[in-house]
Amino acid sequence: MIDFDSLNEVFVMVFQDPEIRISAETTADDIDGWDSLSHVILISAIEDKYQITFTQREILRFRCVGDMLNCINQKLS
């Protein structure tokens, strides 16, 4: 199981903002620079870090960071 602190490191790296603090409710509106294209980079960073692969549909269904974390943990379990 990974937690928000672990996932937060990916967000900080991708958006180059050390002040980012994610939570389950965090959405693209809350993070400067998180748009549909940087989302692709974020996804590949997460896949690299946790050695998982998301399907296109899974990616499109993420509506908040909580959805993302749940999906990662499902894959890791």
Binding site: T27, D29, D32, S36, L37, D48, R57
Partner: protein, 536 residues
Amino acid sequence: MTEHYNIGYKCTGWQVNEGRGNQVALRWVSQKLERQDITYRQLDSHSNRYANTLRDWGLQAGERVFLFLPRTPEVYSAFLGILKAGLVCGTLFSSFGPEALLDRLSDGAASAVVTNQKSLRKLDEVWPLLPALRVVFLVDVPEHLSERVVSLPRLLAEAGETFEAFPARPDTPSVIHYTSGSTGKPKGVQHVHGSLESQLRSFREVFFPKPDDRYWCTADHAWVTGTSYGIIAPFAFGLTQVQYAGGFDPQTWFSIIEEEKVNLLYTAPTVLRMMMQFEDEIYQGFDLSELRQIYSVGEPLNPEIYHWGRRVLKHEIHDTWFQTETGSIMIANRPGLEIRPGSMGKPLEGIQPVLLADDFSPARVGEVGKLGLKSGWPSMFRAYINLPDAYQSKFHGDIYLTGDLARQDEDGYFWFIGRDDDVINTAGHLVSPFEVESSLLELPAVADVGVIGAPDALLWEKVVAFIALTPAATWSNELALRLRVHVSNRVSSMAAPADFRIVQKIPKNRSGKIMRRVLRAWYAGQDAGDLSTMEE
């Protein structure tokens, strides 16, 4: 004012004078699906407050004010207020990094920027290099942060809500959009207040709007579609717009279309392709009976999207074609015209496209040629800022050369073939290979780089970077990610390479120019053809 050419006024005060003061101009749907209605009267008075604030701050007609904001209701009042004051509005994607910002704000000699606290961080990085930038207006702080970083809520509250719009003439500068070329920095495309005539006429001719319609244009305001058809044309027509703050999600989007009774939807092929990836059943639960027409812009609309639209959404999808430089739709599939799936459609009334062979003689019917447009339509761009030669190079006599290649069939339909240059069209955004290469070269692991566009099922084209590494560097997923993150944050997320190829050397001709056709052939696994001009 005897004649009203001012776009800001036509979209607000004129609408109030026409009796639409209490009509909803903008229904804003937040990410939490909360609604906020803004009437034309409120849009008028709020944009007047903006105009007064900008003037009170000493900004004079003709000076450039840039909007650097994500999607918020403030965008509309700010944009229209800037135009009312006779200032020129530059638009910026909120995803832009410091380098992209610096290029545009420096070239545009920005006098002021309207932004928020989050984006101020990126702006602060480059502000010392922007001597013309006098003031930054923040939309989300209650008090001024310094003498030059000031609170808009406070200033707007103090400003008067009446304003006599600047008496713009048809050739008075209005909006600047930056667009990417295949070489050099992005070019500032200058538009004028007279563009409204083309924008409104094309809006009527293509969309067939009715006074009670609800219209949703999903384009970001930093894109020409987002201003021409996301602000100017619908407000100047007196329509009610629906806008949603969040990103793409098919369930949410279609629930908004259903609940807000959207009649006209204007979106992009990439979005439609994303919709196609979901099960058909998702869409069948929605009542789309109020939705009359769907339109698309930005990249060519593949025939399979058209057929999917008919099958799943029970609607035809109409492709429209225009460019930042044209300011309004030039060629379109539209109601009343039989759609040829995959075609651009036919030219709008008064628009005269031509297809030219390499020697600029007319191409024959069915032959691929350079797509040109006989100049003279009101929304035609008037300059590339600071680049008169580049502007002139876009014309052959009185023909504006679009940089696109197309063919025309026997029935007059135009068919997009590709670009005549190296510009990459990714998800409707033009990306300059030069900008991406410059950014990647900043990283110590990169010895040399060449960037191309390659076909992509979702984005139309994706950015592909060929990298020659320095001897000390080793290729890894981590390095690939670092390169992507660097381009995304320094330039823009839309410019970040989707794919990399590691090579020993970037192919260049003897004058040192990257041979992109060789890179394209390598990427496609094809023979690179004649390499006699390649440097040793």
